[in-house]
């Protein structure tokens, strides 16, 4: 006599186990971890000494208003646009998603675990950069901490949204890295990663302020200086989240 089967989905214990496994894989992939955590830190270290002595707005230094927002945005963008899509593309290419598809695990749980681990990586990267800036170069925390946290959260959602589009269109892990790198450098260049948006032609600078990288840097800069965050920045980040969710939802495939 058989017993009825309940439609039970894996719960929190399963999600925690999956997050733990994802985190172990990230830690064991040393190269994948070093780039998002160390590259932005090195960029900060090269300019922190002089930037920490230059006051630019509201008594705040260039390190706080320009360099740290740029470093935070780089950490989030590298993890969201390059690392996460390459993991998802690898999962798809290697059949791991297919294998998980014959278990009670849901695709949403796998995406959630990826997102959680990516956020944790980004938090580690930003914390390291912030601690070095605070302890070694005398920087101060953001004037408006709550607003800064909100901007970082929105920037993460926007970058991961962009990363999901990369994961959706990339057929292989290598192509995910290639597309992610191109997207990162295009967004970064338009967002002031190479010397500030002021040095760009006016139309490009304007566009860059609406795109997620430039919007995140500018919004975070405002929060650090204690100024009002421009609506254009928030709209740009919010629109990226919405558009990315729709596009990735249409294009994303598990096999």
């Amino acid at each position: 006599m058989s017993t009825p089967v309940e439609a039970r989905r894996p719960g929190l214990r399963s999600l925690i186990t999956l997050v733990g496994c994802e985190a172990k894989m990230v830690v064991r992939d040393t190269a994948g971890l070093v780039v998002p955590l160390c590259l932005p830190l090195m960029i900060m270290l090269t300019s922190a000494a002089s930037a920490s002595r230059t006051v630019v707005a509201n008594g705040r230094t260039a390190l706080e208003v320009y360099v740290l927002p740029l470093v935070f945005t780089m950490v989030v963008a590298i993890i969201g646009i390059i690392n996460m899509p390459s993991f998802l593309a690898y999962y798809r290419r290697s059949g791991i998603l297919r294998r998980l598809g014959v278990t009670p695990a849901s695709p949403a749980m796998i995406l959630a675990a990826q997102a959680i681990v990516s956020v944790l990586q980004a938090l580690v990267g930003m914390t390291v950069a912030l601690l070095v800036a605070l302890l070694a170069f005398g920087a101060d925390p953001p004037a408006d901490l709550g607003r800064a946290v909100g901007v970082v959260a929105l920037a993460m959602a926007a970058m991961y949204g962009a990363g999901l589009i990369v994961a959706a269109v990339a057929p292989t892990p290598n192509s995910a890295v290639a597309i992610g790198l191109v997207a990162f450098f295009v967004l970064g260049a338009l967002g002031g990663m190479f010397g500030g948006r002021d040095s760009l032609p006016e139309p490009l600078a304007e566009i860059g302020g609406w795109l997620p990288f430039g919007a995140a840097v500018e919004a975070l800069s405002s929060a650090w200086a204690g100024s009002t965050v421009a609506a254009a920045n928030l709209i740009g980040l919010g629109a990226t989240v919405v558009v990315a969710a729709v596009v990735a939802g249409v294009l994303f495939r598990w096999e």
Binding site: G95, I96, P104
Partner: protein, 246 residues
């Protein structure tokens, strides 16, 4: 779902890939507690058939039920009662054996204990070994362990022992026999006649996407007028069985 339902019921399944008919009106029935083998040459449609039964592919035509459950409509319930070992392992290469077992155990409400699973497939000593450091046979055995982690009532085993040496192959057969003694229904895809003859109550012979024979191994041999199942397969299909999948 009730006790009168067969373990697996596939009726008139059909599937094409880019205009090529991979599976043509395949029907199969596995009773509760029964083991049915599926044999055929490369490209005969074996894997496509079992993937439709497992809910990994959508049939263009026909109907599938596993213990009365529809693989598409009852996905969440089906995953509680169906264990699947795919032809290739497809596991996180950087995770260790014990970590993979713990991960898959977390998906089920009443999983088998880790120690029991590892003991069953003789991987206790490899518990801390990364998946990518395991031999092909060890990877295959781990894949079996993960397929039965949730105490399934039905298991689909696709190319159970392909690539294994004779000793490892016999170990795997022992594992399947143990599952059968627990009342688990088995659908076994194989290239090895000796394997299906030993493990299965009935054998479905597929050729060019169709079931050309479905009977007990002894009846297949009698029907073909041959002395072995290997010869019966050749007589029924006009093809040789190959050991490795394409």
């Amino acid at each position: 779902m009730n006790s009168a339902e067969p373990a697996v019921l596939a009726e008139q399944l059909a599937k094409s890939y880019r205009g090529t008919r991979a599976v043509v009106e395949v029907s199969l029935r596995v009773e509760v507690g029964e083991a049915v083998g599926v044999v055929g040459a490369n490209g005969a449609g074996k894997t496509t058939t079992v993937e439709m039964i497992a809910g990994l592919r959508v049939p263009e035509q026909g109907r599938v039920r596993v213990l009365g459950l529809d693989p598409r409509r009852d996905r969440a319930r089906l995953r509680q009662v169906l264990g699947v070992q795919l032809q290739q392992a497809h596991l996180h290469h950087a995770l260790r054996v014990g970590e993979l077992v713990d991960l898959y155990r977390s998906f089920y409400p009443d999983p088998r204990p880790t120690a029991e699973l590892l003991d069953l497939v003789e991987l206790t000593e490899q518990r801390r070994t990364s998946f990518d450091k395991l031999s092909g046979g060890q990877q295959q055995r781990l894949s079996i362990a993960l397929a039965i982690t949730g105490r399934p009532r039905v298991v689909i085993l696709d190319e159970l022992t392909t690539g294994l040496d004779p000793t490892a192959r016999r170990r795997m057969w022992g594992t399947v026999e143990r599952l059968r003694s627990e009342g688990v229904s088995v659908l076994l895809v194989s290239h090895t006649m000796e394997e299906v003859e030993r493990l299965c109550d009935r054998v479905a012979v597929l050729d060019a996407g169709r079931v050309v024979a479905l009977d007990t191994p002894a009846n297949l041999v009698t029907r073909a007028g041959t002395s072995t199942l290997d010869e019966a397969f050749v007589a029924l299909t006009g093809r040789q069985v190959t050991e490795e999948p394409a």
